[in-house]
Symmetry: C3
Subunit: 266 residues, 3 copies
């Protein structure tokens, strides 16, 4: 895959506005990650303004991590405005399967909105599609089963691009599946790294219509930033300092890092 990280430069030039309706745990981390990468984050939640904001955005990211009944209405309004304006919509079904409410709400979003891409761990994606998968809280339990098959099946069922993240990440649409092996285990010790990835994918979708290409580059660049951060042995001494260096590295990754990319066709 030539020019693996070429979209990064496009993100930095265009600084796409990424409209996030996300959970209260990760708002600050999400905004700082997008800013560091070079995108332009905005959070807007009220029913009165979400359609206006989503319409002018480069991407809309819907994250159900601390969803309330009031917010779901705003998400639907924002999503419909995005659909009408050709703005890509990313769904992050945090904790789907952990409670019936979350599963139902994720499915409601998928029914009422034309979702461009869904990103979650294997358990979340399985639960959204009605597959049974072990889930504890918002973290996926031991992965069992064929994740590649899950990604492809979910993509068909939900009629959108599917990104399943884990030790290895799967990006799948219309029978094509890419597999990315970049990343670092410390990502699992920092809250919201999955949520931020969903928003970063949004930034890439804002500058590239080829969904598989945009998502694969986003996931790869993200994983490389994590690897580079984890290597800073002098300053990274645990999950706290890793988080900070990771934000730093999101501003530094560039096309020069493309030799670090571990991407293959699955």
């Amino acid at each position: 895959m030539r020019n693996m990280l070429e979209l990064l430069e496009r993100v930095r030039e265009q600084k796409p506005l990424v409209h996030n309706i996300t959970n209260v745990v990760v708002t600050n981390f999400t905004a700082n990650g997008l800013l560091s990468l070079g995108a332009s984050p905005v959070m807007a939640y009220d029913k009165e303004e979400v359609a206006d904001m989503a319409s002018i955005a480069g991407a809309l990211v819907l994250n159900i991590g601390t969803l309330t009944t009031e917010e779901i209405e705003a998400m639907i309004i924002a999503g419909k405005a995005a659909n009408e304006n050709g703005v890509p919509v990313i769904l992050d079904p945090v904790g789907a399967g952990a409670t019936p409410f979350r599963t139902k709400m994720a499915q409601k979003v998928l029914e009422e909105i034309d979702v461009t891409l869904i990103r979650g761990n294997a358990a979340e994606i399985a639960n959204v599609t009605g597959e049974s998968w072990i889930i504890k809280g918002v973290d996926a339990a031991e992965e069992e089963g064929d994740v590649k098959q899950l990604a492809q099946k979910a993509s068909e069922l939900l009629n959108c691009t599917v990104v399943i993240t884990g030790v290895v990440d799967f990006i799948s649409n219309q029978g094509v599946t890419n597999l990315v092996s970049n990343g670092n285990p410390l990502l699992t010790k920092v809250t919201g790294t999955g949520c931020l990835l969903s928003s970063v994918i949004g930034a890439f979708l804002a500058v590239e219509k080829d969904e598989i290409k945009a998502a694969t580059e986003a996931v790869t660049a993200y994983g490389i930033a994590a690897e580079k951060a984890a290597k800073q042995h002098k300053t990274v001494q645990g999950p706290g300092s890793f988080q900070i260096r990771f934000i730093d590295e999101l501003s530094h990754i560039s096309n020069e890092d493309k030799s670090l990319a571990k991407v293959e066709k699955a």
Copy 2:
């Protein structure tokens, strides 16, 4: 106290799910602190899902720091579900006494839910029990009076374990009071260190039924992590970098640090 930090390993093995209904200021810090320690944090706030989440959790932490009238209802629903399922409930009455609303809401939780443990500063605990104590905003003013007596009286009145934190921390139940002198003044310069401690105590209560033992170990381990972070003179240059190193140290503390514990019977 032998094997002072033995519960730490149990937390890391069992990775208890700690369900937090907490304030918007500290959600990210709380999640990252719990993750670094080895627990599994989840935030869930909607009335439609809190009972489901609390029922499968190892502990439920209720924090009134930015409480709204809508949230109190969700807290009561979650608390009752926790009670029915034998899940320990921790109350953090942030700012009780600062406004009549906070005092009333903290007391409402205590009336309607069987609270396992309450943690606050001296002013907050005093105000919840109806004692007058000087309070300014959410921080306890100069401590006066006998904190040990306050802890014991509160424990009797509220019929639960009481943790009063300050320069010295008191853990009290049924006439037994432990006193922990670990910690560092920088903890008072970082927002949410009290809130995170309440959630950390939740993680320990999830793996140990002896409440005094669980709370004393949690408070001690937390204080030791703060001491170890503050000693990193090369990288800690103020409250910002202390916060990051403190999160790091929560992942490093272990039974090997038990010689640093400063615990005694009060």
Copy 3:
């Protein structure tokens, strides 16, 4: 301007309670910044308690960054209580102009409350006053036009002190305009640095009635802290580590840094 940073000491001695009704993205950063500076932050949002909290505060900061229809009511209640008790009110009209809702809500606050000071970028201030100015999301687009003139006109129209921040910051009231050139571009790569500045100005207004003096010192001290943080080349490697060092430096700036102040009459 002699004794440029003398108010800093007053903030640290008096530790003013700054009541923030702010957006969900920046709450943690705002609280930690105020704490590090030496002020006493509190967040309180419910209609039932905001009047009580605002009445005992040294300053009230209203920030519409993720405003909901419910919150605007609480802001008005808090603002009126502040007005009745002589508590200065700071308005941060985040993203005014980005959507009609935000512009309208900022104007509603200005109509119903006696606002002491408004702080925003040029686009936000222009939009609040009805001037057209290019805005994309919550960030000001390329600045055009005479910012000094905008500041003075806004001050007359809104009958309050106006702070417009950018590469150069303008502080204006009753025909007097100060210009501050301190700061560092990394501030634009960290979310909420404008929001935190509004709260820091609140802390200074809590200890000094001369609004121009208080705001100019706050903006200057803030910019100097950013410059000092950015100079830490060993530890600052991007927006993440800059944010942490900046929080650190807020606790270190003192009157000894006054030679770094770049203030002039505009």
